[in-house]
């Protein structure tokens, strides 16, 4: 066999790839493919890598909605502006999103809290399905969305792009400008993006909520307008064995809430105010500041990595001052600020990796994360807390030959969570006035219980990749994951202002632990490709909000919902078949299904995504691409207790991209249309589902991208 210099993308298990490229001499030809191919070959779990063309063709101005086109990924939407990702039926703090190797901390907590990432700035995303606690510690139980930088251009140059976005469904006008410079060892990029959108259109004149028919004037959902402004700066330096990057980003979003979804519906609040672009109360604003650095040094046969990050997620909800407790007066300043959270997270991750042998690869690492949450506002939702987690890990990969990779590892994490008590004096006073006894007052007046808990958890995984030839690829993996219970699950007690349920934590909850077995089979030959990825998981203590049947005495509350552990099972499959009928004509069908089961209660779990099937026909040439898509969303009748079943829908979408040579560059025009027949349908996972608000109607979208570059010496 000819000896070849082969680029091996080191540490296949982390997002850090272009920067951890290591050139080594191997006995045999191992891989010579793209980043995408390499990632998929190295990981023992299903990994789906999407890059520029996918991100452009399915661009939505919102990263989560773009990723929804990957089988197994869903978007939990809060109107048209915010979305949070879900992988194989797990969302919130059961999955992680990482950028530049650092876990993003913010969106997990609230039902109405989206992911703050500039969609224009994302160039490469890997979606890792299945348990990933081994790599990322707590929270990464269901999967990880890894956002990573792409390698710099090879030649010295000044480069950049300008993008313009327009959408009809909510009259979005957005744009982004990026300027970059590659000079010798340096690579730097600066990006500014902004999006403004108005109230979004739904194919309905009324919505029915709590037996009341509410008007949707002009088919526009009042006060769902918003805007987003993001700035980011990225710099990388490479010299010899040393590589470093530094990234600073700030994402700001402000989006109004549909007043009908905030409390008891009242038609008087939904009258058209003649302005579909204003953001009135109630609204939420969130700012995510992130500073990260990745450091890498390569010695002969050994590499060291260090990721360091600081983040501040500052979220506020504003709603006209209201209280049920007569003694509470509006605050002197910011009287309408209902809630404020400021979550500071410091993260560090150190890894060492050896390549001494061509067959063995060992990685050892130490992760540390410290979090502090501060709160303010006239209402109360999530308690303040401090959380420290630290873990050590060992990973090994064995490649006896080019066809087989066996890899596995173990990890131990220690976590400590400290939550101070919070007593609501106004509530205590109110209950006293209502002549409840002291025991009752004591039960209700603590909006958060004092909690000081320590946790210790093992996680691990063992997997096999078998690549007998270029046609077949088989993967099997078994993993154990964990998640620390959240501050809300341990300590909260009171009416949740968004769900209008009395939610009560349980300070004695254990870490949630689960086992998952997954497999994947990929076939690629000539004009046909097939991928099928079945999985099954078992949780001994899945934490969920259980209706207790005990009435709460608080105004606006029905029964008490308590965070409870239950045995739970998840199972499902994603499958995808692609056929090139002609070199330029491709047909792809992908489907997915997730089954969830609460063993203790013999019912499904909440937020189970419906099965769905996408049929896509694509015509492609060197300078243009056109696709038409039929998406079938099945009805979800397996709803959990106090969750409504959701009917299915058939949606038609289209898209086209054309490259036009103009002034020495190729301008990209991407036109797309979603929900062509303006079908009225519901998203089972949407925040607005419970208020019976359908999904956005027909949308036409245009994205114009103007890349440019010029050589510099």
């Amino acid at each position: 066999m000819i000896r070849l210099l082969t680029v091996v993308f080191a540490l296949p298990v982390t997002a850090q790839t272009p920067d951890t490229t290591k050139v080594i001499l191997l006995d045999e030809v191992v891989v010579s493919g793209s980043y995408k191919k390499t990632s998929e070959l190295n990981a023992t779990q299903p990994v789906r890598v999407v890059e520029k063309s996918f991100l452009r063709d399915y661009f939505a101005g919102n990263l989560t909605q773009t990723l929804e086109h990957i089988p197994g990924v869903h978007s939990m939407d809060i109107g048209s502006g915010f979305s949070k990702p879900m992988i194989r039926g797990m969302g919130f703090n059961r999955i992680s999103v990482t950028e530049n190797g650092i876990k993003q901390e913010g969106q997990q907590w609230g039902a109405d809290h989206g992911l703050e990432i500039d969609a224009f700035g994302v160039e490469r995303v890997s979606v890792r399905k299945g348990p990933a606690s081994l790599l990322y510690g707590s929270d990464a139980m269901g999967g990880v969305v890894e956002i990573s930088p792409v390698p710099p251009p090879s030649e010295n140059q000044f480069f950049g792009e300008a993008a313009l976005l327009g959408k009809s469904v909510n009259e979005t006008l957005g744009g982004s400008v990026m300027l970059g410079l590659k000079k010798n060892a340096w690579h730097t990029k600066l990006r500014f993006s902004e999006q403004h959108f108005g109230d979004y259109r739904i194919p309905a004149d009324t919505v029915v909520y709590l037996t009341q028919r509410l008007p949707v004037e002009g088919q526009k959902l009042k006060n769902t307008a918003g805007f987003e402004r993001d700035v980011s700066w990225y710099t990388a330096y490479r010299k010899g064995g040393y590589y470093a990057n530094f990234a600073v980003s700030d994402a700001y979003q402000k989006v109004g809430f549909f007043a009908g979804a905030h409390g008891i519906p009242d038609a008087s609040l939904l009258k058209d105010d003649g302005d579909s672009r204003n953001i009135e109360l109630p609204y939420s604003s969130v700012n995510h500041l992130k500073i990260t650095t990745h450091q890498h040094y390569a010695w002969d046969g050994l590499s060291g990595y260090w990721d360091l990050g600081f983040q501040n997620n500052h979220r506020e909800e504003w709603s006209r001052f209201h209280t049920h407790y007569g003694t509470q007066l509006p605050p002197a300043t910011d009287a309408d600020k209902e809630l404020e959270f400021s979550l500071n997270t410091f993260s560090s991750s150190v890894k060492m990796k050896t390549f001494y042998s061509g067959h063995w690869e060992h990685t050892t690492g130490w992760d540390l994360q410290y979090q502090q949450n501060c709160i303010a506002g006239y209402s109360f939702l999530l308690p303040e807390y401090n959380r420290l987690t630290t873990g050590v890990l060992w990973l090994s990969a064995y490649r006896p030959n080019k066809k087989i990779t066996v890899s596995g590892g173990v990890r131990y994490d220690y976590g400590r969570l400290n939550i101070p008590a919070f007593r609501d004096a106004y509530l205590a006073n109110y209950l006293q006035e209502q002549s409840y006894d002291n025991d009752m007052i004591d039960f209700y007046q603590w909006r958060s219980y004092p909690v000081d808990r320590k946790f210790g958890d093992f996680s691990g995984s063992l997997g096999l990749v078998w690549n007998p030839d270029d046609i077949h690829l088989v993967k099997v993996n078994i993993g154990r994951s964990f998640r620390l219970p959240g501050a809300n699950e341990l300590a909260s007690n009171g009416v949740h202002h968004g769900t209008f349920r009395h939610e009560q934590g349980d300070a004695s909850l254990n870490s949630e632990q689960g086992w998952q077995l997954d497999a994947s089979y990929t076939y690629e030959h000539r004009n046909v490709s097939l991928t099928i990825t079945p999985f099954g998981s078992w949780f001994g203590n899945y934490i969920y909000l259980k209706p207790t049947g005990e009435w709460s005495v608080l105004p606006h509350a029905g029964q008490i919902y308590r965070y409870t552990e239950a045995e739970a099972v998840f199972a499902g499959v994603e499958a995808e078949v692609g056929i090139d009928f002609l070199p330029c004509l491709n047909y792809r069908v992908s489907g997915e299904y997730v089954y969830t089961y609460n063993v203790d209660e013999n019912i499904p779990l909440p937020f189970s995504p419906p099965a769905s099937l996408r049929n896509i026909l694509t015509w492609k040439s060197n300078y243009a691409q056109v696709h038409i898509e039929m998406q079938r969303i099945a009805s979800q009748n397996r709803a959990s207790r106090n969750e409504d079943p959701t009917p299915g829908a058939n949606l038609w979408n289209m898209g086209a991209t054309v490259n036009v040579p103009l002034c020495g560059t190729r301008v990209e025009f991407t036109l797309s249309a979603q929900n062509l027949w303006n079908v009225k349908y519901y998203n089972h996972l949407s925040f607005y589902r419970k208020v019976e608000i359908p999904e956005p109607g027909r949308n036409f979208q245009i994205l114009i991208n103007v890349p440019f570059k010029s050589k510099v010496k």
Partner: protein, 164 residues
């Protein structure tokens, strides 16, 4: 090779079929169906008389496919439109915001016709807009609820449709 492709296609198609047919029907034996609330009286935007000794004419029909458990009535002020701001209180020092929060158990039945006059609005209640909410649970913990806008007034008030 062609036959192999076909085989895969058949496999995928069958998976899809199984998938879609399996979610057409809920085969769980456990109950996730909510009870049904039909509140006949008071009606939406009903005006109720403050200090009426006879109590609110309350007429409710509840039903569940398996077994009812309990229902709760919650009345609280809705001053200043949607929000519950205390700013209006300055002019109504002598009165008290009316609140009502009580539950009744209705075990062992699938249907319940409820009719009572137990909710009494005291003479010192602050007039204005209020919310009336009815919650109902079944034996399994499924919960339904309903919200009504009502007005409390010292004058007039709704006539009872029949005598008791």
């Amino acid at each position: 090779m062609k036959t192999v492709f076909k085989f895969y296609l058949v496999c995928l198609t069958s998976i899809c079929f199984v998938t879609f047919s399996s979610c057409d029907k809920d085969d769980d034996s456990n109950d996730t169906t909510k009870p049904v609330i039909d509140l006949l009286e008071p009606e939406e935007d009903a005006t109720l008389k403050i200090g009426d000794e006879g109590g609110i004419h309350f007429d409710l029909e509840l039903s569940d496919d398996v077994m009812l458990k309990s229902y709760k009535v919650d009345i609280h002020s809705n001053f200043d439109g949607h929000v519950h701001a205390p700013s209006l209180k300055a002019t109504t020092e002598a009165t008290v915001d009316f609140t009502f929060n009580k539950s009744w158990d209705i075990p062992g039945q699938k249907n319940a016709d409820i009719h009572h006059h137990e909710i009494k609005i005291p003479a010192n209640a602050t007039p204005g807009d209020y919310h009336l909410m009815v919650y109902c649970t079944d034996a399994a913990g499924n919960e339904a609820y309903l919200a009504r806008n009502i007005i409390l007034s010292t004058e007039g008030g709704e006539e009872h449709e029949h005598d008791h």
